[in-house]
Amino acid sequence: MIWLLRPPLELLQPQAVLAVGALCVLAAGASRRVGLGLIKAMAGASVLAALLMLMTTPFWAASPPLLSSDILGWAFQGLFLCAALPLLYLMKPADEIPPALVLASVLGMGLIAVSGNLLMLFIGLEMMSLPAYLLVARSRSPQALEGAVKYFFAGSAAGAIFLMGMALHFAATGALSLEPSTDPLGIAGAFLMIATALFKLGAVPLHFWLPDVYEASDPELTAFFSTGLKAAAVLFLTRLAPLAPPWAMAWAAALTILFGALVALRQKNLQRLLAYSSISHAGFMLLAVAAWMAQGRSPRASLAVFFYLAAYLFMSTGTFLWLKTEGVSEREEMRGLGKARPLSAAALAVLLLSLAGIPPTAGFAAKFLVFWEAFKAGLYVPLILAGLGALVSLGYYLGLIRDMYFEEGTKPLASAPHPARAVVLACAIASILLGLMPWL
């Protein structure tokens, strides 16, 4: 057992490692002699060290009122760190700032995971979001600045709404703990705080910022957003769970699933299509959380929540990185790829089938668990709507596979395959393995 921090602060050990890592990266960047490759390696090493630290940290330790953790928070921290690894590996930073920003953002997510009251939750939220705005601004696409500004204003507004909700909650209960209150003021506060969580998750109708931001960012960054930030938003939501009614969440979930899927059908730009599809997936996560809440936060339902995010980590990372490695951005460019690039087309086909939830892939196991928990929780109508949403989403996933395999290519492919193809292939293989053996 490694003890960096003495009890009662030992829950913060992974975060401490990340903070030290981020400072080291910044310091190394300040001295001109250290190359960017080394800086990236340092950032990656600090993420790995944080993972190691996470393994050795007992998740049941808690020091109220500020810190507390449970198995869900512990497992989610692993997800955050894993989501950051491909980004750090693939990003091409101009200087030392972006890697440090990524580390800071993951640190914020970790704070959400161990937060024990609303104040800590808010600090984690802002710590996670601020670097994200900057990372969007530093993307290479022409819309990067526009996207970053949109993201910043919308995100800050959401943060302000959370503060407002917190204030109302405090006014009603006189505490910053997560106790529900029956006071109208407290209910209004809970409503505002839940709205912030749904905003971060990208749930309808608070999704408006998401497609623009996802389209403006580099694919590897979008992969991080759709996995790490989404997982953090889900965790954020579960922390607020005592305050929210499950049926409302379930209906929001059903709407989100259907809306994301229907809008994605019409998209021409792949990154935008995947952005809407990630909204649809956020709906499934929301449904899982609703089922978890409706069953009195049963451990089995929390498994469904976690498994969905773990499966989505592989599928989504793989798909966005595929866009990067193949240099494809429009849907039309997919035509004929099945013949031109058999291996990478097959990898994408597996990832898309997994996103669609066709067995024997991880996506199916994830959807199946969510459906089962939703049924057990008695959320019948949202469940059927979610099923129909899955059908609609199959329309575009399958449509992409059709474009790749059944259509003739219109123009030759320019770029050579990217070295990061290995990551995509690994994600595809992981999607199948997790589907065959979900207990892994």
């Binding site: 089938l353 067995p359 199946f368 089962w372 899955a390 199959l394 395999y405 207990w439």
Partner: protein, 473 residues
């Protein structure tokens, strides 16, 4: 018998499919050897009840396979038709993916018929879609892209209901007994409105596959646009999955409910028989005609098994095998004809008996088997099914008899137009040559089986018997 022996039955073609993918120029040989090997291996199981099961896993889900006479006969059908398909496509210049797709399809289909765990069944059920999607979409006719999408989306629509229904079934079973299990042989459905809802959800899943009117609209497109061998597998085996689901899952799980719903389900099956036949009469495309005739024939299967009399259950089940043989052969013949003339319309040919006497013979023979001429296999299944229904609800048996008459009314004119009537303008009859030795051999085997099952169906019926007779109330 250990579970591994059954696992090998579906794993053999799956591994063979991977080998065929990697096989390059030799993949057709891989496909031939593996499909032949699977067929031989499938005969190594004794014809009685073979059960094998693995211990229950997490949440009551387990990897468990079971094989009794009903599963076994459908496995034989699958393995046999896959081999036929491989040989039938032998001369064509296909990429390795084609051969691999057929082997993967075979693996998934065998898995469907072998699975004992409901979730495992569903996984195989869905896995069937992927190779079939590529078979239609990559190697099909002009409208293949749309047909492939339609096929996948339609079936997935049914699958969602099947999945939700299965989840509901398992959850209700747990509520009633306190045990989590996905074992088909153990599960019992809830009663009352919940039971009706679960039954309806699962029945929709199966009905899309059969397909029951009005959920049938994917079928004509998929069958018409698929390559010939793909149509053989679609009609020959994939449609049987729906009937199999009814018999294997819904009947034992909802013994009371199926009885109460008999009038409604019987009505649906009768509509299938009549509607399919009427649609077939209106077709001008030979492949589409046969596709619609499948709708009618599957209605007979359903009528038989609905009656829950020994004759009906056995007749409906043997009709599944019969339909696989006859309709498979018809699709093969249309495929051979299309290879020569590149047309499928009834008016595009005429007087083929002069140029292709053997083709004329086999087509006529198979058509008669399909109509239900006594002495050939179709008669056995249809007669037994109708007999069973006559004992349960005679009105539907009467409608079925009308369907038999209609079958003659759509088959014979089509046969006459293509093979006997004088060719019209723009006929491509002159392009048609008679069957070659490979095609003759294939069709002789099929025709021989039709005759054999028509004259002496006893052994096959005895193999199927044990499970089916257990369903008789």
């Amino acid at each position: 018998m250990s579970a591994h022996w059954l696992t090998m039955l579906w794993a053999l073609p799956a591994v063979g499919g991977l080998a065929a993918l990697a096989g390059g120029r030799h993949s057709r040989w891989v496909a031939l050897l593996v499909s032949a090997g699977t067929l031989i291996y499938s005969f190594s199981f004794p014809g009685g009840a073979v059960i094998s099961s693995s211990p229950t896993g997490p949440f009551g889900i387990s990897y468990s396979l079971a094989c009794d006479g009903l599963s076994l006969s459908l496995c034989w059908l699958t393995a046999f038709l896959t081999l036929i398909c491989v040989i039938a496509s032998w001369k064509k210049d296909f990429t390795p993916g084609y051969w691999a797709a057929f082997l993967f399809l075979e693996a998934a289909l065998l898995g469907v018929f072998l699975a004992r765990d409901l979730l495992l069944f569903f996984v195989f059920w869905e896995a069937v879609l992927i190779p079939m999607f590529f078979i239609i979409g990559l190697w099909g006719m002009e409208g293949r892209r749309k047909a492939a999408m339609k096929f996948f989306l339609f079936t997935f629509f049914g699958s969602i209901f099947l999945l939700i229904g299965s989840i509901a079934l398992v959850t209700y079973h747990h509520a009633a007994t306190g045990i989590w299990t996905w074992d088909m042989a153990v599960l019992k459905g809830p009663s009352g409105r919940a039971g009706l809802a679960v039954f309806a959800a699962m029945a929709i899943g199966f009905a899309v596959k059969i397909p029951l009117v009005p959920l049938h609209t994917w079928l004509p497109d998929a069958h018409t646009e698929a390559p010939a061998a793909g149509s053989v597998m679609l009609a020959g085996v994939l449609l049987k999955m729906g009937i199999y689901g009814f018999v294997r899952i819904l009947w034992p799980v909802f013994p009371q409910l199926t009885w109460q719903l008999l009038p409604w389900l019987g009505l649906a099956a009768s509509i299938n028989v009549i509607y399919g036949a009427l649609c077939a009469m209106a077709q001008n495309d030979l492949k589409r005609l046969i596709a619609y005739s499948s709708v009618a024939h599957l209605g007979f299967c359903l009528l038989g098994i609905l009656s829950r009399t020994p004759e009906g259950l056995l007749g409906g089940s043997i009709q599944m095998i019969n339909h696989g043989l006859t309709t498979g052969t018809l699709f093969l013949l249309v495929g051979f004809l299309y290879d020569r003339g590149h047309r499928r319309g009834l008016g595009d040919y005429g007087e083929l008996f002069r140029r292709a006497p053997w083709m004329t013979f086999f087509f006529g023979f198979t058509m008669l088997a399909s109509i239900g001429l006594p002495g050939l296999n179709g008669f056995v299944g249809e007669f037994m099914s109708l007999l069973g229904m006559a004992r349960a609800l005679p009105i539907f048996a009467l409608l079925g008899v009308v369907g038999v008459t209609l079958a003659a009314a759509y088959s014979l004119p089509a046969y006459q137009a293509v093979f006997w009537d004088a060719p019209g303008k723009g006929s491509v009859s002159h392009l048609v040559t008679d069957l070659d030795a490979r095609e003759m051999a294939l069709l002789s085997v099929m025709a021989g089986l039709m005759l054999l099952l028509g004259l002496y169906p006893g052994p096959l019926l005895r193999v199927m018997q044990p499970f089916l007779l257990g369903l008789v109330p």
